[in-house]
């Protein structure tokens, strides 16, 4: 086999090996460089994979040469190539950004461990994205989760520890639910391979075992993607983790969980079973609506900006779930688009906040009055990300909102349009609150003498901010790939 054919495995193995390498070498700058290089490699690999599957073909990679359905298979199609692209791009970008931010927030002797942890998180996420085996998904899920608990706990505030612990407890319960679900499916079909499951499930889909398995899987994944009301771990985890971790997790972790849900619904169980028989939309849509409205409302009243953005993420995940709940090709396209675009938006916003933490040491809104005078570029990037969050035309956020509302109108669910409009207007409120304080209030005396963020933080932040505008104007990559991926999903289901 040529090395190009090994790309799927390399995508996972590269970060997996780099992590212990970081710890062994033990020098924090070198560890950082290893991280940057690894993730650059990861990004190039994902671009290569996307090119390989662009025509619609599916790569099936046998790990260790053991053939599926008994061996573990890595299965790459347009859907997960697209998701891997955004995850790896953000992982690389975050590592480029990380150096100064990590210096400010984490003790020097712990930094190699931190970088190793981040690499492991990425390895786990890549694994979930690429695997074609249900149990393997659980394993990678736990790899990324455990590493996340560790890196979240490294925040300066001691509440990072309790946040990580709470996440650990809830996350383990969620992962164990997924394990139960997989177990039930295995009981009834005798296989763990996703393609094989898809072929064998229809015969036994009427049994309560399979239905219970579906329920456990859905709830477990729902916890991982912070669906209301299983989102309680998210606000504290994002708020108190180190800024770099907030950026990375906000942009990638829940997205991969959404991907897993899509994979389970469409490639394992199938549209027929999920929506016609089990009526998952009755669960997804109401909870998504509640998520959008209640999370946005709570965000309005937060004074800690990171926590505000965390609640905002819960609302945005609600949008993604709405797209799935609409259960049409347009709806899932909207979900995929928003998956990509939201990563860009939240990435830019959290990166800007990370720069603020570096210079000011706090993200409490009342302490940031008039900061726009001292850090105009950083907060300018924040404004761009905020406009994308609201959904102003010519930004990425507008494109995903457009598709979502079109999907809702297409399905005849006009009241969803009302909810989306309310969500956007609430986003205007909580975002504009920040812009007003930061740009239009007289500067807080304590901020005198603060300087703009360093280049190494500013450039990546603006890179993401500009990406928001780029993908709001030239959507050929995002919409084209999303539509093709969804087309394949709806065509392949049994």
């Amino acid at each position: 086999m040529t090395w190009q054919q090994h790309l799927p495995a390399l995508a996972i193995i590269l970060p997996l090996l780099s992590a212990p390498l970081c710890m062994l070498i033990g020098l924090r700058r070198v560890a950082w460089l290893i991280g940057v290089a690894t993730n650059l490699g990861g990004l190039l690999i994902s671009v290569g994979l996307l090119q390989q599957v662009a025509g619609g073909n599916v790569i099936s990679y046998e790990l260790g040469g053991w053939a599926p359905p008994l061996g573990i298979e890595l299965r790459v199609d347009l859907l997960n190539a697209f998701v891997l692209l955004i995850v790896s791009a953000l992982a690389f970008w975050v590592f480029v950004y990380a150096r100064r931010s990590v210096d400010a927030e984490i003790d020097s002797d712990k930094q190699t461990g931190f970088y190793a942890g981040l690499l492991l998180v990425y390895a786990g996420l890549a694994g979930i994205t690429l695997t074609g085996d249900a149990f393997n998904a659980f394993v990678f899920l736990e790899i990324s989760a455990l590493s996340s608990y560790a890196v979240i706990s490294m925040g300066r505030d001691r509440r990072a520890l309790t946040a990580a612990f709470q996440y650990l407890v809830m996350g383990t319960i969620g992962a164990t639910f997924i394990l139960i679900g997989v177990g039930f499916l295995y009981m009834m079909t005798g296989t763990l391979n996703m393609v094989d499951l898809a072929q064998r499930l229809p015969a036994v889909s009427e049994t309560s075992t399979v239905q219970a398995g579906f329920a456990f899987l859905s709830v477990g994944i729902a916890l991982k993607l912070a669906m209301f009301p299983l989102h309680l771990w998210l606000p504290n985890a994002y708020a108190f983790a180190p800024s770099v971790v907030s950026v990375f997790l906000a942009a990638t972790a829940t997205k991969v969980a959404v991907y897993l849900l899509l994979r389970v619904i469409f490639s394992v169980f199938g549209v027929e079973f999920t929506f016609a028989q089990m009526h998952l939309e009755y669960l997804l849509l109401p909870l998504a609506i509640i998520a959008v409205i209640s999370a946005s409302l709570v965000a309005v009243f937060q004074t800690n900006l990171k926590r505000m953005l965390a609640y905002s993420s819960v609302a945005q995940i609600g949008y993604m779930l709405m797209g799935i709940g609409i259960a049409s090709a347009m709806g899932v396209t909207a979900t995929l688009l928003h998956l990509f675009n939201h990563a860009l938006m939240k990435g830019a916003l959290f990166m800007a906040l990370g720069a603020v933490v570096l210079r000011v040491g706090s993200v409490q809104l009342h302490q940031l009055a008039g900061l726009g005078h001292f850090m105009p570029w950083t907060l300018g990037a924040f404004v761009v990300g905020a406009l994308s969050l609201i959904g102003i035309p010519l930004t990425a956020g507008f494109v995903s909102k457009w598709y979502l509302v079109s999907a809702a109108l297409d399905a005849g669910w006009w009241w969803l349009v009302v909810v989306i409009a309310i969500g956007s207007l609430l986003a205007v409120v909580y975002v504009w609150r920040v812009i007003e304080v930061v740009w239009f209030q007289p500067p807080n005396a304590a901020l005198a003498g603060k300087t703009e963020a360093p280049w190494s933080l500013l450039l990546p932040t603006w890179g993401l901010a500009l990406a928001n505008i780029y993908f709001g104007v030239d959507t050929s990559l995002t919409t084209g790939t999303a539509e093709a991926a969804v087309g394949a999903l709806f065509g392949v289901t049994p």
């Binding site: 149990f135 659980f138 394993v139 736990e142 455990l146 608990y149 560790a150 706990s153 001691r158 509440r159 520890l161 309790t162 990580a164 612990f165 650990l168 407890v169 383990t172 319960i173 992962a175 164990t176 394990l179 139960i180 177990g183 295995y186 009981m187 763990l192 606000p235 504290n236 937060q302 004074t303 800690n304 926590r307 409490q364 009342h366």
Partner: protein, 128 residues
């Protein structure tokens, strides 16, 4: 009735352990005990998995000449992986508890939340 109890014995054990574990996680104040409950919860799943691998009349899955029917080895393998995951989870959890204990001086959830709330009132940071 008896059939249901004895025939589905392994499921009953799994369910009772699972619920006990979950209850401990939710109801216990002490962080270490929460982790114990979590471990109990995970253990129930392990038992469940292994028990469904048993084939009636099957021998342990070790190749031996003369044996025709083996129990399913796959669940055993899966659970070995899951046990390792569980061990890692417990390890991470306990190390977090150690750090929490150093930082807060207590591993009781009530005390920790109280301390947080007091600190937030002082600094003006917002509530959870």
């Amino acid at each position: 009735m008896i059939d249901t109890l004895t025939g589905l014995f392994n499921y009953w054990v799994a369910v009772i352990l699972m619920m006990t574990g979950l209850y401990v996680v939710v109801a216990q104040n002490n962080l270490v005990k929460k982790l114990v409950g979590l471990g109990l919860f995970q253990a129930s799943i392990f038992i469940f998995y292994i028990s469904i691998g048993k084939v009636a009349g099957g021998a342990p899955p070790i190749i031996e000449p003369g044996v025709e029917l083996y129990s399913n080895p796959l669940p055993h393998v899966l659970i070995l992986t899951a046990i390792v995951v569980g061990v890692a989870t417990t390890a991470v959890g306990l190390s977090l508890v150690v750090r929490i204990s150093e930082s807060y001086g207590s591993v009781e959830e009530n005390d920790i939340n109280q301390a947080d709330r007091l600190a937030e009132l002082e600094t003006g940071d917002d509530q959870a």
